[in-house]
Amino acid sequence: MATTLQPPPTINSAARGLRYVKPHESSAPSTGIWVGLAAITMTFAAFTSAMVVRQGSGNDWRHFSFPVILYFNTATLVASSVTLQIGRGRFAAVLEGIDYAASALRALYGTLVLGCVFVLGQYAAWLQLRSEGLYLASAPSSSFFYIFTVLHALHVIGGLLGLIYVTSKLHRGILRASTLSAASQYWHFMALLWIYLLLLLVVRI
């Protein structure tokens, strides 16, 4: 037996529009980043398995010395993660009402600069390999070296664009904590991914 119907309760979506940082924010950016990272992980896992299979399938695998600048680049990328984390801390303080906005901005600018230095450093590594006669098709090992480093650099450039977006939002005072959090997740993952790739390449090449 049914009861008497009342109009269903509804929630006015216009009241839900959230432009500023507090207090209830959508977790979609964070979820989206995690999902995206899962796809990126799978892509690099596929390349890794392809590398392992390819190394074992022929006798043309060629070992070569790494450009030393790669280690400097690694330190740069790790440092950029640190500055980003500092920026997050300062931004959290801003949300608590402490005037750390300028400090947070400086940390983000520092992250951007370090990220750019990393990409330029990778470019310098490719130039060095070219000068030694190692191109994409020179050997399967150099093929994978270029594939891994170029694809990772492209992802880092994507992260830099995201950070520019975040920085501009912060500059205009309309940054959401969830946006900064999502950008940070991505950026830290890029650092972790690079360390994994570096270890993989060191072991295999």
């Binding site: 037996m1 049914a2 979506s13 209830h24 977790s27 979609a28 596929a46 390349f47 399938s57 043309d60």
Partner: protein, 595 residues
Amino acid sequence: MHDVSAHAAHHTPPQGFLRKYVFSVDHKVIGKQYYGLGLLAVMIGMALSWLMRIHLVWPNFAIPGLQWLSSAGAPGGVITPEYYLQLMTMHGTLMVFFVLTNVPFAGFGNFFLPIQIGAEDMAFPRFNMMSFWVTFVGFCVLVAAFFVGDGPPLSGWTAYAPLSALPGTGPGQAMGQTLWAISIAVFCIGQLLGSLNFITTTLDLRTKGMTLMRMPLCTWAWFITSCIGLLAFAVLLPACILLILDRVAGTSFFVPSNLVVSDQLVNHSGGSPLLWQHLFWFFGHPEVYIAILPAAGIVSHILVNSYRRPLLSHKAIIYCMMGIGFLSYMVWGHHMFLSGMNPFSALVFSFPTLVITIPATILVLIWIGSLYGSNLQINSASLFALGFISMFVSGGVSGFFLAQPAIDVYLHGTYFVVGHFHMVMGVAAIFGMFAGTYFWAPKMFGRMMNETLGKIHFWGTFVGTYCIFMPFHYLGLVGNVRRYSAFVDDYLAPLMPVHRFITIAALATGAVQLIFVYNLAYSRFKGKPAPENPWQGTSLEWATSSPPPWDNFGGKLPVVYHDPYQYGIEGSSGDYVMQNSPEQIQTAREDKKLI
């Protein structure tokens, strides 16, 4: 309880023609765009299959105008053996990627997933728009292969290396094959963007009261499919990148040493053709479920509405779909039994292949068992949904045979496999697509489709597809090899009457589809205006106008009180209670929820 106040306002009402209909961020427009692209692709794909069937039984028949498409491939309109393979490649690629993936998943999913969970739009509307247009670019690049050099590739939709990795291995293997690889890589990017959106939207944008278990079965299917797609396309993308590099940059990932092509020693070394197969089929088998699971979800959603009672177990269907999705990653090797793999490896892949039939069988038993005690409403949508079960079972049963390496060794290269996958993956998914169209067209376009024409369309298609694909199984059993463009061997000659029958059935079944096209086009503009809830459904898509406003619910999000399928009970509006209705349900199920 889900905090709907956390949702962000996604976008303002679209203004102007371009923003409203072309570069729209509205998930409903994007869903229709995917659907339209799928229809275009299926028409091209079906026309290609006609050309192939005509060539098989009348090899010297000059098809008027075909020489304009390819003067070398069809001189005077007569298809050459190589061009037959090129048509086959394009048929398979268009159908698998741009039809079976696009329509049941991306088309219907985009339109209905946000509405069914009570959201205004997808989580990332701009990504959503990008996903469609990237897919569209992939489609254009693929179709462009018809018009370059010596036409599209001939390596099949699986593009096995080293044939696909080297230019100059046959007609279409130069620019055509490169375009194929670029197209599929671009398609992967589009699908990854789409999957990301589907997963995030489902997890984060459900309205108040919409718990995961209260989501309709098709929403679950789209969610599970997007999880499968996220991981599967993320593997095909690197495979395509490596293939492109082999072709254009001189690398050697898939090309072995000492390979001679056309009396020329190839300048590559050390690559592994099997590496391509592993990467491809790691994507390829989940792709089967990317095609079929959305259709299974749509069919479940329609059947429960047609039965006017809940299915025997809501949760079992969800868990079975999850199980199928999980197992789909463990069976790719069963496509490679003939690759020379270790027999023990074959056994390892055979076992989960057989295990995957268990959740599939449970699905079928629930669909059929729920008929008992139902109040079945026969209409075009329910007919196609029941037809889906028939195709799924008929095609699935032959999978038992192919899962066993010893039998597969004999059958793998025959028409048995063609019959199997066309029924279980192709036609079944297309039946799900038709069922979804007849069921949801009133909501999508605001007009009812003609039921009489729909039923004629169903019976013509149902009988026709059985006439086409069941004989394929028999042809395979007697050893009729696939991929041949002509059957000139003595032992194949007696099979030609069967092939002629299949060709006539294919042409007739194709003609029947014109009824559908006419019905869809006529109803779109001249059909009877659709009410809000023409099928007396319970889920949230029926709680808004037909078609829905740009923000889905007119600025007010619904609140969900019930499980998705409260049918067969005394409701205030009939034998159902909608999910957003606050009325109490006075039945034995009230306390138990759904089993």
